[in-house]
Symmetry: C2
Subunit: 284 residues, 2 copies
């Protein structure tokens, strides 16, 4: 970074963050970077509650804008996924100002809605990677350490291992990408290696999401698909008869999209960073 | 009908039909139409099993074509929903022949994939309505009686009550329509009253499906949305804070799509018939 200390703002455009996350993340950051501890601001909105969401739509949109439009921040970090970004993305994108372009954005799962919109709008430091709440997972310190290493130093070891070999990359939760298809938020992924992961869905839903994704003409312009981890797959009645890699290979074959193997991403502590677009080294 | 007796073929492009359905449906048809009992042929494929599906992809596609391309049948009736039509729709649509255009197609839920493709291809007797397996529901005889009345006589009392007032109509399960958006199967619903129903999804998923559907530029050309029943809604953690009509009204307002109230469709025995397109009286 060009600055001595990285300043990170955490916001929750979807579900509410657990209260213990902030303290644990700050403690970890202090121990990992004793000489240049990043300043991590958890927007109070992270702890707000409004039905399913971390505050109502306007509260969540405004919190995102508070950080994104503030020149002093180097990164907007998503508190967690859950659900709700699709309700605020339009308000957020309409009200972003110039300073919002000069910072990084990192999250995954539901956050993919906003990452897609930012990437589509030409933002150049958008990445699929751990959220703050991942610190609560078993071995979650590793996930948070990894995303800090990327936000602070763009550390190459934080990246999904194949990122450096791809011309362009993007990563999404399957269901979240599916819900963007055919909307004005769908990003142009032509020429990208597209990495997909899933969590807590039945096999028939994984199959259906892959039908949907690989049937989209724009998606068929990707350079290939890599399958991340599909974890906590819920029961399928009767047994589906195929596992996630078989169905991913099936839909790649059906659609003519190159199958490029497995990706090191998923809803777990091992979730590696996948920058959207070209893997550009950090600007000095 | 121009013929003395209606001939109906039942196929299962998705999940397997329960074995007791055929006998119960035939008995009911005999009691409802003693003088002109329709001939109802349950394709053996309905009882096949291949993992999740009623036979493998080719078996299911071929069974559909066996009935659709046979001049002697007046109607193709879906055995049930479940999941699997997306895997056979391409093979089916490529191999349909001229006789397939001169018959009715009735089903809902997963069958919406094939109904959409047939309607898009200009088939003029495509309808959202009960499947054979609905006879197993409480009061399921009413559902099957209703769909027989439509297939045999195009009985106006079988129709969703607002159909006659709409210029054009279409009906879908929300998730199924969502999974068609942005694919070559997405039908042109411009000027249609679009009726949507859902079953066994959490409120956040209903909200997300409505975001997806109402964000699509082509869907925004509908003349309005009507909400069918959303049944067996699964638990939402935390409580979502809004019910299905509130979120449907919200997304209609956001998208500028007219909200037209409730529709008499759903995953239940009361599910009324919604023909796709203009409500044309039966050809004599």
């Amino acid at each position: 970074m060009s600055k001595e200390k990285c300043k990170i703002g955490v916001v929750a455009p979807a579900s509410r963050m657990s209260p213990e996350v902030a303290e644990r993340v700050r403690t970890l950051a202090g121990s990992l970077y004793p000489d240049r501890t990043p300043e991590i601001f958890f927007h109070p909105q992270c702890f707000a509650a409004h039905g399913h969401f971390a505050g109502d739509d306007e509260t969540r949109a405004q919190a995102f804008l508070d950080i994104a439009n503030d020149e002093s921040y180097d990164a907007v970090w998503f508190a967690r996924g859950g659900y709700g970004s699709c309700r605020v993305v339009e308000a957020v994108m309409c009200r972003l100002t110039e300073p919002s372009r000069r910072k990084a954005y990192v999250g995954y799962s539901d956050a993919g809605i906003l990452l897609a919109a930012l990437y589509r709008a030409g933002f150049d430091a958008v990445a699929h990677g751990p959220v703050a709440q991942d610190i609560l997972r078993p071995a979650g310190d590793a996930a948070v350490g990894r995303v800090l290493a990327w936000m602070i130093d763009r550390a190459p070891e934080a990246l999904e291992p194949t990122v450096g070999r791809a011309k362009k990359t993007a990563a999404f939760n399957m269901t979240v990408l599916s819900q963007l298809l055919g909307t004005p938020l769908q990003p142009d992924l032509g020429g990208h290696v597209l990495m997909l992961e899933e969590v807590a869905e039945a096999m028939y839903r994984i199959d259906r999401s892959l039908f949907h994704i690989t049937s989209n003409a724009e998606i068929r312009r990707v350079s290939g698909i890599m399958l991340g981890r599909c974890t906590a797959i819920t029961s399928n009645e009767p047994d589906f008869g195929m596992h996630e890699e078989e169905v991913a290979r099936y839909w790649c074959r059906r659609s003519g999209i190159p199958w490029l193997g497995r990706a090191d991403i998923g809803h777990d502590a091992d979730n590696k960073i996948v920058p959207f677009g070209s893997h550009a080294p950090i600007a000095e």
